[in-house]
């Protein structure tokens, strides 16, 4: 039971992070390396505002900042290089991510801050479960179902797929491509913000949030990049492995996702549930 709860929590974090990456990938075929920076910046901002103003204001400010940073990533890093090779997009998002990280370090001085969300706890089996853990599970489940449905059954999902396939043709068909892309970056940043809040409440807001956020990339790749279900599967798999390893060697546990990634890239490069053709397109 204990293990199951840990796995569920880790998997929820992994999944929300992975979903953010998948969302951006679906529209742009670019991995958003700026997400860790966005998560750090918004988490610290929320903590700072929360110490001066009511929590609701802080949460609203954080969400706004997340949306703004997501939009910034798109306008600065992606829009000017549309049509250039993919690796340029990777590098611009890397640069934006590290710029944010650097700014966060300078402003907040690598401090550990506490984020106090109102919390309650209840028992599940023989273990005490805090409400933020439960919220995390719900968030992951809700987001998973919502995104799965949107991608599969709505026009927006089709728009995303079309935009990623042939940007110009999508514009010729009257698809509001710029809106779709902008929205995907903003939504990814907001998903990241949810993770930032929940992780920050659990283990304090530190620079380690940034490296935790890198896990989203691993989840997305192991799952198969364009598959929501794959990301869910990968999140559970990685969460399980991590929860298991952490009992014997906590430091190995932070590396183990990367080992899984390397193994998957060699064994099944298109990911657990991805399509093999996806390999040809990046």
């Amino acid at each position: 039971m204990n293990l199951a709860i840990d796995v569920a929590t880790l998997a929820s974090i992994n999944f929300l992070l992975g979903l953010g990456i998948v969302t951006v990938y679906k529209g742009t075929r670019i991995l958003n390396f700026a997400l860790p920076g966005v998560i750090l910046a918004t988490a610290y901002l929320t903590v700072t505002v929360a110490s001066h103003a009511p929590l609701v204001v802080a949460l609203a400010a954080g969400a706004l900042a997340a949306a703004a940073l997501g939009a910034l990533t798109f306008y600065v890093g992606i829009l000017p290089i549309l049509g250039r090779p993919t690796y340029v997009g990777i590098l611009t998002t890397v640069a934006i991510g590290f710029m944010l990280e650097s700014i966060v370090t300078i402003i907040w001085k690598v401090e550990i801050r506490n984020l106090n969300l109102p919390s309650a706890s209840f028992t599940l089996g023989d273990r005490l479960v805090s409400s933020d853990q439960a919220i995390m599970w719900m968030a992951a489940l809700g987001a998973g179902i919502l995104f799965g449905v949107v991608y599969r059954y709505t026009r927006v999902g089709l728009w995303l797929a079309a935009t990623a396939d042939e940007n110009l043709l999508a514009r010729q068909r009257g698809i509001p491509v710029m809106m779709v892309l902008l929205a995907s970056f903003v939504i990814a940043a907001l998903l990241g913000y949810v993770v930032a809040l929940l992780l920050g409440a659990r283990q304090g807001v530190t620079m380690a949030l940034g490296s935790a956020a890198l896990r989203g990339l691993v989840v997305a790749l192991v799952g198969g990049l364009d598959s929501v279900l794959g990301a869910a599967l990968a999140a559970v798999l990685l969460g399980g492995v991590e929860a298991w390893v952490v009992q014997t060697d906590p430091r190995l546990a932070t590396v183990v996702p990367y080992m899984v990634l390397l193994a998957v890239l060699i064994w099944r490069p298109w990911g657990l549930l991805g399509t093999p053709e996806e390999l040809e397109r990046v």
């Binding site: 670019i30 991995l31 600065v76 890093g77 000017p80 290089i81 250039r84 090779p85 993919t86 690796y87 340029v88 990777i90 590098l91 611009t92 890397v94 640069a95 934006i96 991510g97 590290f98 710029m99 990280e101 650097s102 700014i103 370090t105 300078i106 402003i107 001085k109 690598v110 890198l214 990339l217 691993v218 790749l221 430091r251 190995l252 932070t254 590396v255 990367y258 080992m259 990634l261 390397l262 890239l265 060699i266 490069p269 390999l279 040809e280 990046v282």
Partner: protein
């Protein structure tokens, strides 16, 4: 021209004091690593976010030779080939997933490999500290060159200068071989290259092996230069710095890599001076590494967006402007020639 440059380079240690020499030495080490990543990323187009891992391999080779085998063997003629072979081997292992994947997958694979190497490195250090009782600081002996020991800043200058020149010449030569052309082809269009009958997998592995072996060589020299093995110095930030070098200098150009390395190594010193003169708030100096990272990231972004050909491209444009002035374009006759 080349001879004049060499003579000038030989005189340098007698003109500058040790502080400037140490800066130059750091530039040389960075040059070697930058030329390495220029081959993997600049030529072959495999974006490598794990350069720090390859550097780390070299440093561990230095450590392993000096500590396990003994200080007498801390000899350049042994350490250099050993570091290069170890680097190439690790490069091939890291490049292995790249055989089946491309683009972003490769980037993530190199990043993942970096984290794994870093973990193994930290475990190794722990083993040294606890089992071999080396203490927290792992000291390396001075590098031996058979006929002399490299210890003074000046002797390091000559050693690093010669190694850098050899690496530049070798890399320039390599770029004009079959492999060099294959790399550039596969950077432009991988599928097309494969269709042309070029063994993409083979050349990708070579690119990773060569790039990693040069990085490892740089790491080895770095270790001996600082007399220590310190894996904590090699973070993701270092990988970003190396990427920044070739982006700022100019991707796929050896002159660009050299220029970029010098730029990236020297800019923090300029930055420090600026912060000092303008009395920047104290946290800018306390978290200087963060400031540095931010500046590199910013420059990277600017060059990617505005001058994709880097400093070399910029230089070419300025030169052409003055050569052709008052015209804007090269006359057709000249182009044909």
């Amino acid at each position: 021209m080349a001879i004049a440059a060499l003579v000038a380079a030989a005189i340098v240690p007698f003109v500058f004091d040790t502080y400037y020499l140490s800066l130059l030495n750091l530039v040389f080490i960075a040059c070697i690593g930058a030329i390495g990543i220029n081959i993997t990323t600049g030529y072959a187009g495999q974006v490598n976010l794990g350069q720090a891992g390859f550097l780390l391999v070299g440093e561990f080779v230095a450590g392993a030779i000096a500590i396990h085998i003994g200080a007498i063997w801390a000899n350049f003629w042994i350490a250099a080939p050993a570091a290069m072979i170890a680097g190439a081997a690790v490069g091939v292992i890291v490049g292995w997933p790249a055989l089946r994947v491309r683009g972003l997958y490769v980037t993530l694979a190199t990043l993942a490999a970096f984290f794994v190497i870093q973990y193994l490195g930290l475990r190794y250090i722990e083993y040294l500290q606890q089992t071999l009782k080396t203490g927290i600081d792992i000291k390396l002996s001075a590098l031996d060159l058979l006929f002399m020991t490299v210890s003074s800043e000046r002797s390091w200058y000559y050693l690093l200068l010669s190694v850098t020149v050899v690496v530049i010449v070798a890399a320039t030569g390599l770029a004009h071989t079959k492999a060099g052309r294959a790399w550039q082809a596969l950077r432009e269009h991988e599928l097309m290259t494969e269709v042309m009958g070029i063994d993409v997998a083979h050349y990708k592995l070579i690119a990773f092996a060569v790039g990693a072996s040069l990085a490892s060589l740089a790491g080895m020299l770095f270790g001996f230069y600082h007399h220590s093995v310190n894996p904590e110095a090699f973070t993701v930030e270092v990988s970003v710095q190396y990427l920044a070098m070739i982006i700022i200098g100019g991707m796929g150009s050896i002159a660009g890599a050299v220029l970029g390395a010098a730029f990236v190594v020297l800019i923090p010193y300029g930055l420090e001076w600026v912060l000092d003169t303008f009395n920047a708030p104290s946290q800018f100096l306390i978290y200087f590494s963060a400031v540095r990272l931010g500046v590199f990231a910013f420059l990277m972004l600017i060059f990617l967006l505005l001058e994709p050909e880097g400093l070399i491209g910029l230089w070419e444009r300025i030169r052409r402007f003055f050569v052709l002035w008052p015209f804007r374009f090269q006359p057709l006759e000249e182009k044909r020639r």
